[in-house]
Amino acid sequence: MEFVVVSLLNGVIYGLLLFMVSAGLTLIFGMMGVLNFAHASFYMLGAYFGYSISRLTGFWPAILLAPILLAAVGAFVERFMLRRVHRHGHAHELLLTFGLFFIFEELIKLFYGFYPVAYAVPEELSFTAFNIFGLDYPFYRLFIGLVAVVMFAAIYVLLRFTRAGLIVRAAVYRPRMVEGLGHNVPLVFLGVFAMGAAMAGLAGTVAGIFYPTSPTMAQELGIIVFVVVVVGGLGSVEGALVASLLIGVFSSFAVGLDWTLAQALYPIGLQGWAEAVGGILTVKLATVAGAVPYFIMLLVLLLRPAGLLGERV
């Protein structure tokens, strides 16, 4: 029981964090057809900007300023880099973001070094939320989840109930048509790209405190965010939310489970045989937990490329 509750709580919060990063990514893909390899870099930059700003001004201005800075970085990348290579096709756009991923990581190493920086929980948030099974549950974890929920509510309202949101949703669906109706679609692209970068930056600012802020954080999150976006359905924000929670909860449970493939064969009476064979059949789920999301991603890509909630392929 203790394992279930704590894992569920941690999983949901990790999932919400994944959602903050993947929401922008999936919107950008739906709109521009570009899978942005540098998106996780925005998350990393958010953490480092948050760290530096919070050392100067304290945590609260940092949580506001870091995403704004990231929006500027995102806008620059879209306006002066992506838009330039757009005419060479999607492959070149993909390659550009791929190169930017390297540059951002190296720049961070240049300024902050190779090791994690001491980005600490602000004092006013550093207390125990509640006591569960004799375990003090830190409030800051809940805070990460809270920020994500507020962010989801904000973009949901923005996309569903405002005129700008209507244009964005239409531009995701049929960019040429929206352009034909006289809207400035490049400007919409710029706005969405900047917004997506800001959201990833916000995620980094908040989560960098909990998960160490280090130059490898973009790599660590980068591919798992792709998994979320694919499983949820490329272009679908709601899908990204569902997939984030699924993957978050799964990852959190899997590290504590020692199920094996051999045990799964018990109902058909092959457990003994499988255990004798050994190898991959007796590997514990906990040890291969890292591989399972990619397996799910592969299955989704092959069986239902539109993802859980996506509409188009």
Partner: protein
């Protein structure tokens, strides 16, 4: 008048032999250089040469899929890595005496592993196209990357696997140079095979698939089966490339499945020129050499490589190879002379800007390094930075004037150079148009 008719004959009939002769001469020269080079080089460089050859083959294998079929794979490390593991396993078996096989044939294990796994993975990956295809290849590679460290029997766990090259005939393969010539022989064979592949029916169909898959299907072909085969061929050569590297390194571990290894093939290919058959070799050689030389001098070499890659993607999407091809025709017509001046100016501008960039980043790297921080904290002041054996005081205006001046002059020169280069090209194009009329 006679001069005009001469150029006319030259332009209207660029004889096949002429063109072919140029390419053959260049390739023969390159092969001779590759044969002679290790004789004059230090042993340290021979290892790098082997890495270059393996990286070139790897990039070429990746580019079979991209140049011909327009499928962008982000997971070729899987086939490269499996090729490495297959070769190390075979070498261990030979070492233990359970199999006997001449060492020069050992890379065939990598080839076989790449082919077999490429066939399976290709069957699934080519169900999808475009971004979805890239995602499938990424997922397959990442799956192996995650599973490999857990599966100790096959991948040797965290420590990886190692083995020894066994002597064959009278050759011990104990020295680097012997291994180099073996790798070079395989390299030449494989590049030739890949070139021949582009002319086989499957190779031609692969181009057609890249141009318009629907039409190929209308012609009655099973396009999925075709793409699976092309993918398998690409995986096969990637496996061979890995096998050659494993033969030289004598060890391998699971980190070879890292997404960055897949990325290196992509970067090499596009910097070298994805649209040209030999382009990936140019990219792989240039960037491996760059990494080798520059990583000795500065720890920022990966940053510089990233900047070079982004600049190529933005401003020279055809890569180095594409740029060379653009100059072949004017060169044959003897029209490149007008470009020499503008290009020299452009080179000076680029070097000026590059030195400004390097100065800036190296300076910042010193300023933000840990030893500097400790020194500053202990002396409670900002110590001077030493760079290029000169000390640069922070407050001094000269310190900041250097990069600013380099950037300003560089940008100014670049603007002039771009204008002149454009003008020279325009006159080349109009003059060849006139000749055609």
């Amino acid at each position: 008048m006679s001069g005009l008719s001469e150029t006319e004959a030259d332009v209207s009939r660029p004889s096949l032999f002429d063109r072919f002769g140029f390419a053959t001469a260049a390739i023969l020269a390159a092969i001779i250089v590759l044969i002679v080079l290790p004789l004059v080089l230090n042993d340290r460089y021979i290892g790098t040469l082997i890495k270059m050859l393996a990286a070139s083959l790897f990039a070429l294998a990746f580019n079979i899929l991209w140049r011909q079929t327009k499928l962008l794979s982000f997971g070729h490390a899987a086939y490269f890595g499996l090729g490495m593991f297959a070769v190390v396993h075979l070498m261990r078996a030979i070492e233990a005496g359970s199999i006997s096989l001449p060492l020069p044939l050992v890379p065939l294990a990598g080839l076989g592993a790449g082919l077999a796994f490429g066939w399976i993975a290709g069957f699934f990956a080519t169900i999808r196209t475009g971004t979805y295809f890239a995602m499938v290849t990424l997922a397959i590679a990442e799956l192996i990357h995650q599973l490999a460290p857990q599966w100790e029997g096959v991948f040797g766990g965290e420590a990886g696997l190692s083995s020894m090259r066994m002597p064959w005939a009278s050759v011990t393969f104990g020295s680097d140079i012997e291994v180099y010539y073996l790798v070079l022989a395989w390299f030449i064979l494989a590049v030739a095979a890949m070139y021949v592949f582009t002319m086989t029916p499957l190779g031609r169909l692969a181009f057609a698939l890249g141009d318009n898959e629907l039409r190929v299907r209308f012609l009655g072909y099973d396009t999925h089966a075709l793409k699976t085969r092309v993918f398998a061929v690409s995986g096969m050569f990637a496996g061979l490339a890995g096998g050659l590297l494993a033969l030289a390194n004598e060890n391998v571990d699971h980190t070879i499945f890292n997404a960055f290894v897949s990325g290196s093939a992509v970067i090499h290919t596009f910097v070298g020129g994805a649209g040209v058959f030999l382009g990936p070799i140019v990219g792989a050689f240039a960037l491996t050499l760059f990494g080798f030389v520059v990583s000795d001098a500065t720890r920022l070499w990966a940053l510089y490589q990233g900047i070079i890659f982004v600049l190529v993607v933005m401003y020279a999407p055809q890569g180095v190879g594409g740029a060379i091809i653009d100059h072949v025709e004017p060169w044959r017509q003897g029209k490149l002379r007008s470009l020499v001046g503008p290009y020299l100016l452009g080179l000076i501008a680029a070097l000026t800007l590059a030195s400004g960039t390097v100065f800036l980043f190296e300076y910042l790297a010193r300023l933000f390094s840990d030893p500097y921080g400790i020194q500053a904290a202990s002396t409670k002041a900002l110590p001077v930075v030493e760079l290029f054996s000169i000390t640069w005081p922070h407050a001094s205006p000269t310190t900041w004037m250097v990069p600013v001046a380099l950037f300003a002059v560089g940008l100014l020169l670049l603007r002039t150079a771009i204008g002149r280069i454009r003008k020279a090209w325009e006159s080349i194009k109009t003059s060849s148009l006139g000749a055609e009329e």
